[in-house]
């Protein structure tokens, strides 16, 4: 797609999405939409590192949790608004990504993935132990202030919907900007052939470090939102491994390294999961069983994901036309 067309499509999509709560009033439907947007936003953040640079993290819950805890601690201990806490959480997560990256980027391929799992699980265990500083394993509820938009609390679900929509649009804007700038090319290059990337003058460690920071920042913002939305925080919730899994899954299913892949993946996975739950009730294991089957199917038949497959078709047609 030519760039103006893409911007047009994106703008139309954004306007449609913004108008949706005027039509959709059911709290249940809004809740589903919020989950879709939330995981699309997290997936978009993951996609910068995992999709473009092919550094497959399964430890993004670390940043989600850090974002959630930073804003909650600031809010409960100091009365700071979660809006500010959200940015503070992003900064904390971005800083935390430096030592985590220092450790994990020493490894390539599957061992990078294992290292990210270990660091995130480690952080969860630490927060389980932090009883005095952060409520330990019991966690805490977030004081319900009723309708308080300045404290990121809203009377109806529509308010939360707009926050997640904004988070997603921010992630998409950052990704679109990176895609077209030099760093976007560098990410794909180092993900494909690290040695060749270094040989043409790319400072690979620096590029990885920077994209990890951006990815961590965006993930942490989603973490702040999530605890505001569910009015509760504990380590098992915000550092849960399933957050790391879903961040990766929505991108892989939708198409790694594509702008809208995580959104497409989130729509597919969350819709499936909602349908299943309405049919079967919430049986432990159903959701992840389904996700793992979808993931396997994508890997075996369409490893570039849904959008990746379309992009290949378009590219092939274009190449044919150019040769003629």
């Amino acid at each position: 797609m030519a760039i103006p067309v893409r911007i047009g499509v994106a703008a139309a999509g954004a306007i449609l999405a913004a108008a949706l709560p005027l039509v959709v009033k059911s709290p249940f439907a809004l809740d589903v939409l919020i989950r879709i947007l939330l995981f699309a936003a997290i997936g978009t953040a993951w996609n910068l590192l995992g999709g473009y640079a092919k550094q497959f993290s399964l430890g993004h819950s670390a940043f989600f949790g850090l974002g959630a805890y930073t804003s909650t601690l600031l809010q409960i201990d100091l009365g700071v608004s979660p809006w500010i806490g959200m940015l503070a959480g992003g900064v904390v997560a971005a800083l935390a990504s430096l030592p985590i990256g220092w450790l994990c980027f020493r490894l390539r391929g599957p061992y990078f993935t294992i290292a990210t799992i270990a660091t995130a699980q480690m952080l969860m265990l630490v927060f389980l132990k932090l009883r005095d500083f952060a409520w330990g394993a019991e966690g805490t509820t977030i004081p319900n202030l009723g309708s308080a938009p300045l404290m990121m609390q809203f009377a109806g679900k529509a308010g939360y919907y707009y926050v997640t929509l904004a988070l997603l649009l921010l992630g998409l804007a950052v990704t679109a900007w990176i895609e077209r700038s030099r760093i976007g090319y560098y990410l794909v290059a180092l993900g494909e052939e690290q040695d060749a990337a270094e040989a043409i003058g790319i400072n690979v460690p620096q590029v990885k470090r920077r994209i990890f920071m951006i990815s961590a920042f965006l993930t942490a913002m989603a973490g702040t939102f999530y605890v505001q939305y569910i009015y509760f925080i504990d380590p098992q919730t915000v550092f849960n491994f399933s957050i790391s899994i879903e961040a990766a899954l929505v991108s892989i299913v939708g198409g790694v390294g594509t702008l809208f892949g995580p959104l497409v993946g989130a729509v597919l996975l969350e819709t499936t999961s909602t349908l299943l739950q309405s049919r079967l009730g919430s049986i432990a294991g159903v959701q992840l069983t389904t996700y793992s089957l979808i993931l396997m199917a994508v890997i075996l038949w369409r490893p570039t994901g849904i959008l990746g497959y379309f992009a290949e078709l378009v590219a092939r047609r274009r190449a044919k036309r150019a040769e003629r």
């Binding site: 794909v188 494909e192 052939e193 060749a196 270094e198 043409i200 590219a315 190449a319």
Partner: protein, 241 residues
Amino acid sequence: MADALVVSSLAKRFGGLAAVQDVSFTVREGETLALIGPNGAGKTTAFNLITGFYRPDAGSVRAFGSEIVGLRPYQVCARGLARTFQVAKPFGEMTVLDNVMTGAFLRDPAPEAARSKAREAIDFVGLSARERTTARDLTTIDQRRLEMARALATQPKVLLLDEVMAGLNPAEVDQAVSLVHKLAGRGLTIVIVEHLMRAVMAVAKHIVVLDHGQKIAEGAPDDVVRDPEVIRAYLGSSYAR
């Protein structure tokens, strides 16, 4: 002419094996130097030492007067030394144009400028018709062309080509040879590692011969091929009498 690259007493061991020992040579600005030798002679290792992929145990490499040992590969490239790989390493999912743009970004951070520089390089190696082809779908020779274009896009002063003729058929070798001539014609300093003597004789005015990690001969092509040490290294001792 000034010295582009001065390699002195370079050495590298892997475990018990001396891959490169006490190798010294000088590449003058604008010349094409070939590094030849039998399999396992240490040619590619020497390349990796010069370009920062390996750190030498001893010795120095000076590029245009300044020491480059200890620099990371991307820093070496920024100093004006670009290399290709023996096994081509294209960014497979990217198009040819995007591959070369990625190289051009080193000197031109703005996409538009990088794109036009990339097109120049692609045109130079004769790959313009494949500009929008995905790199992994290219033929072997086109992948080599792409590697050269990508290296060229970083606007190097020295180009190090690692066995760019390997796996090509005779007609393609001729194309590659004329491409190297064309590069040299632009005033580029070229260091080429090559197996194929026919190609070496066609492109290089200056040859350095390695065997078992050591330099055994150096000089003009005609002298080098008559050197008994070289003949022995290539053909075995029974031929050198």
